[in-house]
């Protein structure tokens, strides 16, 4: 089979050069070990300030509650209102709890009292979460008549890398598959060997398959590697069917390879191909719902996300890892990727063919 020869040649071209071998292997490892733990919107080890002007006991007790909370690890005591501004400005802490001098007196006579929280809005996300924690501590302290009992399903302690690693299975395999395929044709073109390939007895479809298969193999292998590390090293729960995940990954990687070949067939030089990859990759990661949920985006932007294979794969990967989602949801997210794959591969093969004439 001459396709086999081509596939073998392509695989060798990717894996033989030590530099390109490194560029496939090293970035995912770094990202998995560093970024999976860094990409957290979690709030821990918060530094805060306390300005307690209350001469009574209640204020002191409230401060003690904050000291006992695991979230607030550094508490600085301020002495005057004028110390608040420099404290926040210089980011010595994200929040200041301000208890006024009437606090104990009011509470002791059963009158409503209030405490003020001053938060650093520069970090709006963190500030909001910290305000939530503080609110909770104060509510408990003030004896609410309504109590909220929280349970987080699928990830009871809200461990962030349980979210990151399943997402990285998709994102990193996407990166690799994309770079491998989008550069493969562009490089051959720059070196002039692509024309040789075109004049060989291989048909454009065979060339396409020959370029496609190695990308799928490398991308899927990487996804599998991260998946194994996630399950066995990071002990992330895996509730769904591994076979279904592998099958979905294969379809996902194929759709990405399609995009890569499409970019490649448009570009004449490697620099253009790199640029093209970049222009596809960044919106993919940002709009896929990985960084922030899709429903936060403006409604006119949300339809764009339907064009990104990553969007669907994230739902499947996270779902199979953590939620054990049923087959119909998987199917619902699979067919758009199949469509994208068909469309991009067909266009790429059309563009190859046009070059032949």
């Amino acid at each position: 089979m001459r396709i086999w020869a081509l596939i073998k040649k392509e695989l060798l071209a990717i894996l033989r050069d030590p530099k390109s071998r490194m560029s496939i292997l090293i970035p995912p490892v770094i990202q998995l070990c560093v970024f999976a733990f860094a990409a957290t919107l979690d709030v821990k080890n918060v530094s805060m300030g306390v300005l307690n002007l209350d001469p009574g006991e209640r204020g002191f007790r409230l401060v003690e509650e904050f000291q006992g909370s695991p979230t607030f690890s550094h508490i600085t005591h301020l002495r005057a209102v004028k110390e608040i501004a420099p404290f926040i400005d210089n980011q010595e802490g994200i929040m200041v709890l301000h208890i006024d001098d009437q606090f104990s007196r009011l509470l002791d006579s059963q009158l409503p009292a209030h405490v003020q929280l001053i938060l650093d809005g520069r970090k709006s996300n963190t500030a909001q979460i910290v305000a939530g924690y503080a609110q909770e501590i104060v509510s408990k302290f003030g004896h609410d008549n309504v109590q909220l009992v929280l349970r987080n399903w699928f990830n009871p302690n809200l461990i962030y890398y349980w979210y990151n690693v399943p997402s990285f299975v998709a994102i990193l395999s996407m990166l690799t598959a994309l770079i491998v395929t989008s550069l493969s044709v562009a490089r051959e073109r720059e070196l002039g060997t692509f024309d040789q390939l075109l004049v060989s007895p291989l048909t454009p479809v065979e060339i396409l398959i020959g370029k496609m298969v190695p990308g799928v193999i490398v991308g899927a292998a990487e996804a599998f590697l991260i998946l194994t590390v996630g399950v066995f090293v990071f002990s992330i729960p895996f509730t769904g069917s591994p076979l279904l995940l592998l099958f979905s990954l294969l379809i996902f990687v194929t759709s990405i390879v399609g995009v890569g070949l499409f970019i490649s067939s448009l570009c004449a030089t490697q620099q253009q191909a790199i640029l093209g990859t970049f222009v596809f990759m960044i919106p993919s990661v940002i709009l896929s719902g990985f960084a922030t949920p899709i429903e936060n985006m403006p409604s006119w932007l949300q339809p764009v996300t339907y064009l990104l294979p990553l969007r669907y794969m994230l739902v499947i990967s996270r779902g199979i890892f953590l939620k054990g989602i049923p087959f119909n949801i998987i199917l619902h997210n699979l067919w758009p990727m199949v469509l994208i794959a068909l469309f991009t591969l067909a266009s790429a093969s059309f563009l190859f063919r046009r070059r032949l004439q």
């Binding site: 509470l107 003020q116 650093d120 709006s124 008549n145 490089r187 253009q272």
Partner: protein, 354 residues
């Protein structure tokens, strides 16, 4: 001598469309994506409400959720009706008002409300709980009054856009320089340049000055978009902003130059630029993810990333003003970084000459 090199470089920039693409179109695209694509403001949190109790008290509680602009609610009687929605991700979670809610409340007990959040997206789960907490009206003697300074409306865009400028500058400084210089190595024109009587520093400067100017131009465009289009306030002075940008660009350009001298190949250079420049400035700079929440060993790594200091300066300059102690403590590490990088470059490049 430098002048001739700079002019040559400018011709190259103008003639190669992909350079203009990277330095003008890519920043615009990124500004667009960061401005609209990333948003931490949850306005339509899809929440299920299971009303096992239908007393007036419970009705009033449900009404306050319906009226809240943060929630899109789905009200059911039994929790079985929302389970599949949570599974499919159609609901981010639900609350259960138990059948004994009113009874407990009337008899002076603490009335419980159960909140179930979909933990597979931890940040959304956190926010769901916070917003539910804020919506449930309670009788409590102590009122908490949160005040968010610098960003009273809590617009996440005001927090994200200044930080995103650091990413864009990294991209231009590092990726562009790395690619351009690597191309010269790849084509062998760098050796030709080194063989001329031009000194090493002249070559380095001749490369850096044009891209430095390009970077400053991009920055001006970005700051303009940030304040005019996205309405982010600029409370610090422009001069300080320019000064900080200049220092950061020197770091970013140096990193790009060093990468290209090490890689000498466009593909590898672009990979290195992404892994050592773009991704750290995205993930480890504190632009989106809080540094103090990261594990200690990663926090240590962030000190090595110039974008970390630049992001802090940007966020402060845009939203707070000229807070000199903070800005100076962030400038010094960038200057040290720059000094180290250029020493390394000088070493590497002179070696090539021999």
């Amino acid at each position: 001598m430098i002048k001739a090199l700079v002019i040559k470089e400018f011709y190259q920039i103008i003639r190669d469309p992909s350079t203009i693409l990277i330095s003008v179109i890519l920043p615009l695209l990124l500004m667009f994506l960061f401005g609209f694509g990333i948003s931490l403001d949850l306005n339509h949190l899809r929440l299920g409400i299971v009303m096992e109790d239908s007393s007036p008290d419970a009705q009033a509680l449900v009404q306050s959720f319906k009226d809240s602009r943060y929630f899109d609610t789905k009200i059911v009687r039994h929790r079985q009706e929302v389970l599949s929605d949570v599974m499919e991700g159609n609901l981010r979670g639900f609350i259960v008002i138990p059948s004994y809610f009113t009874q407990f409340k009337k008899s002076g007990h603490i009335a419980p409300i159960q909140v179930i959040a979909d933990g597979s997206e931890p940040n959304t789960a956190n926010f769901l709980y916070n917003y539910v907490q804020g919506t449930v009206q309670r009788q409590n003697l102590i009122q908490v009054e949160p005040r968010f300074w610098f960003n009273e409306q809590l617009e996440s865009r005001h927090f994200l856009i200044p930080g995103s400028l650091a990413i864009i500058m990294t991209l231009i400084g590092t990726l562009l320089t790395a690619l351009v210089v690597a191309r010269e190595w790849e084509r062998g024109t760098m050796e030709a340049l080194l063989a001329t009587p031009v000194g090493v520093w002249d070559i380095v400067l001749g490369k850096l000055i044009p891209y430095f100017i390009l970077g400053i131009l991009s920055m001006i465009i970005c700051v303009f978009i940030a304040s005019v289009f996205y309405g982010v306030p600029l409370r610090g002075s422009l001069v300080v902003l320019l000064l900080v940008t200049v220092i950061f660009l020197i770091c970013a350009l140096g990193t790009g130059l060093l990468i290209s001298t090490l890689a000498k190949n466009q593909v590898v250079a672009s990979q290195m630029a992404i892994v050592s420049g773009f991704l750290p400035s995205y993930m480890l700079s504190g632009f989106l993810f809080e540094i103090s929440s990261m594990p200690t060993y990663i926090q240590l790594i962030t000190y090595l990333i110039p974008a970390r200091y630049f992001v802090q300066c940007l966020q402060t300059l845009f939203l707070v003003g000229n807070v000199w102690p903070l800005i100076l403590t962030n400038m010094i590490p960038m200057l040290i970084y720059a000094a180290l990088i250029y020493t390394l470059i000088a070493k590497k490049t002179t070696k090539r000459l021999q």
